[in-house]
Symmetry: C2
Subunit: 369 residues, 2 copies
């Protein structure tokens, strides 16, 4: 059933999107400001459940692309992702019936809402990552046969680029990243245009609802002085992301971060409060793996989330800093994201990590947290 | 009047294009091989005089883009510039009536011939640089109001990119260079789509004929054991490139060359045979300026050409090396290329050179050569 998303939903959605961003995805606060302004100007947004899409509906997903470290300093006007959508519509010779997120974490939960409000198109409650990932080919859409091409990129000066690499989504990412770097490190895109039938077959369903559920669970626990992480675990247990495991509690002891080739890459360590255990995180925009005392406890595509210990506020990789008191949790992902085909595209090996994927509900058994 | 260009014309054309390449423009020998193969497969090429174009004819220029140092090692198949043309036609929703060079030096005198042979389109005897230049905004087309956008870029794997930066040709160059670097340092393009009326108003006319004239004059002088440089000066005196001045004779003593940001940049020096005088050349793909004993004797857009002393064979920047015996000549450019508007786009300041443009026929007075 379709529903209306209003300005009042945005704070919960932003908090949930930051959790699903697993440290990356761009700052959802920036996206929240853009979405709030768009809703104030154009009214609330119609959200469509993927199951109610007509098979031949044309859905054009929209997003922001770039290193979170840059996004942080370079605010979009809000017209850029609409420019990207229009450029792709023109190239395809067909108007979109709806937009959709390509990722459900970070700022990219919000960008399609900005597009939806400004264009009065509905937004589909689904996405292609089921979290945030750093690269454009890392999509269940592509894993299950929908090409990213043709894709459109819009810059802040109204300039557009349309890239077509056929079925090669990784080559598309390579070229689009080059354009994004030349556009100053951040750009807005429209890609993976697909039919309603393809959405139903390839998208991770109801991830806007999931982000709202996560954000609301944390807020409501805070309001009643309950443990927000326990509340989050309870709320997730009723979703496709059923398992939450606390992997580590401690203080950030070191952060190494650099912006290179259009990405924010690095690693961070934390020490347990008793000084007996060490956590190591590695990230490329998003957290990729959490090792506790050298053992992998959670690895992509499962979610590694760094939360501030008191309020469970998610901490992004670009705001990680020495001395923060954190609780690191792992969250399981839906079966759609854990198939061999999916792991080939966004499992540990796709990031050059020398680990085999083990579901967090197994890998986290025996953690000392 | 239109005329037929055959395989037999190609060696003269390649030699002339190398002179007009002023050290850059990519190796015309590679282009000659591609053009020869295309003519053998598809027949001779119809060359149209710009004056005979209908005002509403659609002309889509085609070219290769990239650092000559890379082009040298990465041969195109020949289908890539046709892919670029087709991508731009599709984007415009209209088929081209003819193609045209965007530059008349180096490989880019040949690429439109490859396109013409393969597509059976005629090629217009004109171009937008009147020589070779390293960047896409350096076009009389743009100087006199024809936008480069939308432009199409094709890679060797059939991938295409369409860039639209509106009237901002320099920004188009910036984005296209980024894509070209990601495509491996060389790509093929279609840009500055324009009407016949625009060709007549903005293009440097009859530069395919000019290249043939130059190549033929040098060859015929060799055949009769005459001085090829004197023959070249005589042949040019009847064209829009009326003045040739010998700037320097000597031996290359130093070459400094690097491929950076998609360009071959550097400088070279030569010593006169009596050891009393020094030449300094600076280049970015093409030779930009020649200083003799510290005095500017020829600077862009006028042509600085390095010729091997015996046979007047043009030497490209990527083949310059220690010990070569060279004659360096300066050649004047047409009035269209020397206006204030033109100098703003491809005069010395556009290359960051701290010199004022002075026509070679004035600047070379008093050279010691």
């Amino acid at each position: 059933m379709s529903w209306q998303l209003t300005e009042q939903d945005l704070p919960d959605l932003a908090r949930g999107a930051a959790v699903l961003g697993t440290g990356g995805g761009g700052d959802p606060y920036v996206g929240q400001l853009l979405a709030r302004q768009a809703i104030r100007e154009h009214g609330p947004i119609t959200v469509l459940d993927p199951d109610e899409l007509d098979d031949d509906t044309l859905v054009i997903p929209t997003a922001q692309m770039g290193a979170p470290t840059v996004v942080h300093e370079k605010l979009p006007r809000g017209s850029e992702p609409v420019d990207a959508l229009r450029a792709l519509e023109k190239h395809l010779g067909r108007a979109a019936d709806a937009t959709m997120p390509i990722e459900c974490g970070g700022i990219n939960s919000m960008i399609p809402l900005v597009v939806a409000a400004r264009t009065r198109l509905p937004v589909v409650d689904a996405d292609g990552m089921g979290r945030a990932f750093p690269e454009l080919q890392m999509e269940t859409f592509g894993v299950y046969g929908v090409p990213g091409s043709p894709m459109a990129i819009a810059g802040e000066r109204g300039e557009t680029t349309v890239i077509d690499t056929g079925a090669d989504n990784k080559h598309m990412e390579w070229l689009a990243r080059g354009v994004t770097v030349r556009l100053g490190g951040v750009a807005h895109i429209a890609e993976y245009a697909m039919t309603g039938a393809q959405v139903k077959r390839t998208a991770v369903p109801r991830t806007l609802t999931l982000a709202l559920t996560i954000g609301r669970a944390i807020r409501q626990a805070r309001e009643r002085n309950a443990d927000p992480i326990a509340a989050l675990a309870e709320a997730l247990s009723h979703t496709l992301y059923a398992h939450l495991r606390v992997l580590f509690r401690g203080k950030i002891s070191d952060v190494e971060r650099r912006t290179e080739a259009g990405f924010a890459r690095g690693r961070a360590t934390a020490q347990s409060f008793d000084g007996q255990h060490e956590l190591e995180l590695r990230f490329q925009n998003e957290n990729l793996v959490a090792l506790v005392d050298g053992t992998v406890r959670c690895v992509v595509p499962d979610l590694v989330c760094v939360l501030e210990s008191e309020q469970a506020e998610p901490i992004t990789t670009e705001t990680l800093r020495y001395g923060q008191r954190v609780t690191v949790v792992g969250i399981s992902t839906p079966a759609l994201m854990r198939t061999p085909e999916a792991l080939a595209v966004f499992g540990p090996a796709a990031f050059g990590l020398p680990y085999t994927f083990t579901p967090v509900e197994e890998a986290a058994v025996g953690t000392t947290a």
